[in-house]
């Protein structure tokens, strides 16, 4: 097949791959897919050189201006789509992409158009990657990858030969089978190599890609003492503190997740402290897994299902670990972990880098009998600790009694107080009470506005005045669910304080008197996009950073064991050779299978970008190689192409050959302008003269010498630049 035709065909094939990626992601509606399929078929026939199509297309050529108007129209449609129809950036953008693809396919005339087509198809395939994690994507993507490399190669080759048309006629070069398999084999080999490199080469540690890796985030509210009004200062900080994945739990409530930090029991009217500073080290149950005993006494029947969280915590200036209440098992790469008396988890020291850990938590549910019980029998230890109120809280006590006067059970009292706070107070970040002497009174009776700390403090104090043990808890309230990555993004502004109320059988029950805080989070049309970007970052971390040294070592060990075994067995017989290789292979296969599918996508993505860059860097080399090694029917073209390439390289360096200058004149010019390159140019010119104008063609040896010289010049120009 001639180059030109193969090139046009593979370009259409590339577009088809990208389009089918979108279709399989179920993001292209039928009314759009049908015309697109027709256009693709027409383009393929056109590229394949079917005559009547060619004639028909030649007859209906539309002026470029018309196409531009059409494109503007398509863009207007995108805007309408965005605002009225799909109301979302991603689907609207994909519709627009498809329209662009169709228009480009119909206007493939200049080389520029082909470049645009490639760009659009790349965007399309990336978009479909964002939309799906199905298994079919892998073959489509691999096909796309191979087609892309092949097409770019052809693009480059056609450009090269187009440059150097000898005389007035261009010489059609045909693709040989040898060439086809050689190039595509190289691509497949490159992909395999990339995979191998991915598994074997050590990578940077945590946080390389993170801009915040250097300094620890300031975390407020997790020290031994919390002044009322401190959390407010971070309420507008969108800095990400952690990401929480909830694996294997599709049914979990995606609206909110309380991540508990520390609990406080003593309130002195201005700040909260905790009385029990004693911490105990947690016992190890397995390597890196710590057993957290439930802090309060709990009966097993009050437990609901467990929640597993995988948490990636950014570098904070506190040693506190966060988890949904109440953590039972914590595993991470820690040597030691401590827990205080109120269930707060800590590391011995604040971590120096981002850490990952997983927690299994059991959220206590209020037992039905306690819900109904009119009086509860609290243990003395609890009463001693959790009924403390500051001096001069008579107002508060009165208020609490008034509010809960109709309630008959402790639980109803609790609810009444919570409802009172929810209904009669407004949420505001303006309330700066840090400097007041009685911030609680100020909140309850004067301002009636405040934020979580005020609400929580008020509730705890009110509960205590009516005899119900309660405590204040600080932590984060995760509300930002990232649907692309399947995790909660927790930011500084999600810092929160809430209440835990004690019930003798059920344990500490989480209650939140603060009105919905999600109002503080701005929702914009671009939020999905940022969430998408966010998820990519997490994916990177999950798949590349967390794919840890340990995993790599496992692979390396596997390979080493394999090779050791190999060495041993060589002496025993060739028949046993395959075993260690198979072992390694199956190990690799196992790893591939156990990895998340998203990882394959990511790997392939990296391969695309990598191989594109690689090709870009090597394109001169490849063209050099191709000119000398490609079996063409016109070997005399090779030296001309080499010479033309040299001229381009020199031009990039600023030495330009004017059209009316002969090759020798140019060589003399180089002698003046760039002395170092002169010998090379002189040599290539001599070979060019011989190969181009004499009757005796260059020998392969001479040709490769010329190629070598041009290659030298290339490395030369790179260095000089």
């Amino acid at each position: 097949m001639p180059f030109d035709q193969a090139f046009a065909l593979s370009s259409v094939l590339l577009a088809t791959m990208a389009f089918s990626g979108l279709v399989l992601a179920q993001s292209v509606p039928f009314w759009l897919a049908l015309p697109m399929v027709i256009i693709l078929m027409i383009s393929a026939l056109h590229a394949g050189g079917v005559h009547f199509i060619r004639r028909a297309i030649a007859r209906v050529t539309v002026s470029p201006t018309m196409w531009n108007i059409l494109l503007i129209g398509a863009f207007a449609l995108l805007l309408i789509d965005l605002t009225v129809v799909s109301r979302d950036l991603l689907p609207a953008g994909i519709h627009f992409l498809v329209v662009l693809l169709a228009v480009k396919l119909l206007t493939l005339q200049q080389r520029r158009d082909y470049r645009h087509l490639y760009a659009i198809s790349l965007m399309a395939i990336l978009a479909s990657a964002a939309l799906t994690s199905d298994a079919w994507y892998v073959p489509i993507f691999l096909l796309y990858l191979i087609t892309a490399v092949w097409t770019l190669l052809l693009y480059h080759m056609t450009q090269e030969t187009g440059d150097t048309a000898v005389g007035h006629q261009t010489i059609p070069i045909r693709i040989t089978r040898h060439f086809f398999w050689l190039t595509n084999g190289t691509v497949v080999l490159a992909i395999a190599l990339t995979l191998a490199i991915f598994f074997l080469i050590p990578r940077m540690g945590a946080g390389v890609l993170q801009k915040t890796s250097g300094e620890a985030l300031r975390a407020t509210g997790f020290s031994d003492r919390v002044d009322l009004g401190t959390i407010g200062s971070v309420k507008q900080d969108p800095q990400i503190v952690m990401r929480v994945e909830l694996p294997d739990q599709p049914a979990v409530d995606k609206d909110r997740l309380y991540l508990r930090g520390l609990a406080y029991d003593q309130y002195n009217g201005q700040s909260w402290t905790h009385s029990g500073t004693r911490r105990r080290s947690l016992s190890l149950v397995a390597e890196g897994t710590f057993l957290v005993r439930p802090a309060g006494s709990r009966s097993s029947n009050s437990l609901s299902g467990s929640v597993r969280q995988d948490i990636m915590l950014e570098t904070l200036d506190t040693a506190v670990l966060f988890a949904a209440p109440f953590a039972e098992l914590v595993s991470g790469e820690f040597l030691e972990m401590q827990a205080d008396a109120m269930g707060g988890l800590r590391l011995p020291a604040s971590p120096a880098s981002r850490i990952r850990y997983s927690v299994i938590s059991q959220a206590p549910q209020l037992a039905a009998d306690e819900r109904m019980a009119s009086a509860l029998d609290y243990p003395d230890a609890i009463l001693a600790h959790y009924l403390q109120v500051p001096m001069a809280s008579q107002h508060v006590a009165d208020l609490a009694r008034r509010v809960s006067i109709e309630a008959t059970t402790p639980f109803e009292r609790t609810l009444a107080i919570q409802q009172h706070l929810l209904k009669n107070y407004s949420y505001s970040l303006e309330a700066d009470t840090a400097t007041l002497s009685h911030p609680l009174d100020e909140f309850l009776f004067t301002r009636k506005t405040g934020y979580c700390e005020h609400y929580a403090t008020a509730m705890v104090v009110m509960l205590r005045t009516v005899g119900i043990p309660a405590r204040l808890v600080t932590g984060f309230l995760a509300t930002e669910w990232n649907e692309y990555g399947g995790y909660f993004t927790v930011r500084q502004r999600d810092a929160h304080a809430w209440v835990e109320v004690y019930f003798p059988h059920s344990g500490w029950i989480t209650m939140d008197p603060t009105p919905t805080v999600s109002t503080a989070i701005s929702t914009s049309r671009w939020a999905p996009l940022t969430r998408f970007g966010e998820s990519v970052r997490l994916q990177w971390d999950r798949l590349f950073v967390r794919y840890s040294v340990k995993d790599q070592l496992a692979v390396v060990h596997g390979v080493r064991e394999g090779t050791d075994a190999l060495r041993e067995r060589v002496s025993r017989g060739v028949s046993l050779l395959s075993a260690p290789i198979g072992q390694t292979l199956s190990r690799l296969m196992h790893m591939v299978r156990t990895f998340h599918l998203g990882m394959l996508e990511l790997i392939t993505g990296v391969i695309v970008v990598g191989s594109a860059l690689f090709l870009l860097m090597l394109r001169d080399r490849i063209a050099l190689w191709a000119t000398t090694h490609l079996p063409t029917s016109h070997p005399e073209l090779a030296i001309v192409q080499l010479y033309a390439r040299m001229l381009r390289m020199m031009e990039r360096h600023g030495v330009r050959k004017s059209p009316a200058a002969t090759a020798s004149e140019f060589a003399r010019l180089v002698e003046q302008e760039w002395k170092a390159a002169a010998p090379i140019v002189a040599n290539v010119t001599a070979l060019y003269h011989q190969g181009r104008f004499s009757q005796t063609p260059l020998t392969p040896g001479e040709l490769s010498r010329a190629a070598e010289q041009v290659g030298q010049l290339q490395s030369f120009t790179h260095v000089v630049r």
Binding site: G167, A660, T662, S664, R692, S694, Q695
Partner: protein
């Protein structure tokens, strides 16, 4: 026969006499190999005649010199038929044109009639006298000299005559160092007389056939024709290059390739020769009846035109 060695030797031989004019000597040799005729045009006393003389002496060929004067007649050049009493018939007495190398000194001093007598000899290498055609011996080369500075009593060469010269060369003054070498030479002898022939007529003919075998790639022919076409279309010129001019350039380019030791032409050959081969064949525009145009002017025009023609890559 090692051709490049032979060519080298003839150039070296001439260089013994003509100091510091390697390029002019090379072109003279190119002209010889291309079976062309040479017109040397320069002020008196820069070695035109000596160059012609040296070239002739370096070849083992017959050499005649004709001093063109205003009273010279065609028969003085081509020869006459005279009655031979013993044989009772007319007998052709060949004139000085019957030689391998003919030096036509001061060619513009003679009348156009006499100048024209050279036409047939130069283009067909034969002489027709009294309905009889006498072929000239090969190799045959006319080297003419003329003085552009002086117009008194001269008859400028007509276009047809000029077109028959393959190239027109200008020798130019030597540099002081080269001039010193000339002065330091013993004066007793004409320097050209001391030269010994280094090339036989047979060898010259062999070299000339070698020139015919030189390969000129198709795109180079296109290039050459593009240059010729450009002279015809140029607004600077009122008369472009003839087909004979194009043919001459092609032959000269091949000869230059041989002189430079190649068996194929390069664009450089054509580009380098174009001013020398073409500039005397063109007429400048707006010369206001000035029949004699300046050599330098024409050469510059041709150079300018050549610089507009793209070289094939």
């Amino acid at each position: 026969m090692n051709s490049s060695h032979t060519i080298r030797s003839i150039q070296d031989n001439i260089a013994l006499v003509i100091k510091g004019k390697a390029h002019v000597i090379e072109m003279a040799v190119v002209c010889l190999l291309a079976r062309g005729h040479l017109l040397l045009e320069d002020v008196p006393g820069v070695g035109k005649t000596t160059l012609a003389h040296s070239l002739a002496r370096s070849l083992d060929c017959s050499f005649k010199r004709i001093q063109f004067t205003s009273d010279l007649l065609p028969s003085d050049i081509v020869g006459v038929s005279m009655f031979n009493r013993q044989k009772q018939g007319f007998e052709f007495i060949p004139g000085p044109i019957f030689a391998n190398v003919v030096l036509a000194d001061e060619i513009n001093r003679t009348t156009p009639k006499t100048q024209s007598s050279l036409l047939e000899a130069m283009s067909e290498a034969q002489i027709s006298v009294d309905n009889q055609t006498h072929p000239l011996e090969q190799p045959f080369m006319v080297i003419a000299t003329q003085n552009p500075a002086e117009y008194h009593g001269t008859f400028p060469l007509p276009e047809s005559q000029l077109d028959r010269f393959l190239m027109r060369l200008c020798i130019g003054y030597p540099t002081p160092e080269e001039e010193r070498k000339v002065l330091d030479r013993p004066y007793s002898l004409h320097p050209a007389d001391t030269l010994e022939a280094v090339l036989s007529a047979q060898e010259v003919l062999a070299l000339q056939t070698r020139v015919d075998q030189v390969h000129m790639e198709e795109s180079l022919t296109d290039y050459l024709l593009a240059i010729v076409q450009a002279t015809r279309q140029s607004e600077l010129l009122s008369l472009g290059v003839s087909t004979r001019g194009a043919l001459g350039l092609s032959k000269a380019a091949k000869a230059l390739a041989v002189v430079r030791g190649r068996d194929y032409c390069l664009p450089d050959d054509i580009k380098e020769l174009a001013p020398i081969v073409l500039s005397h064949r063109v007429m400048l525009n707006r010369t206001h009846g000035m029949r004699t145009q300046s050599f330098e002017q024409a050469e510059r025009m041709v150079l300018d035109i050549v610089e507009t023609v793209p070289v094939p890559v």
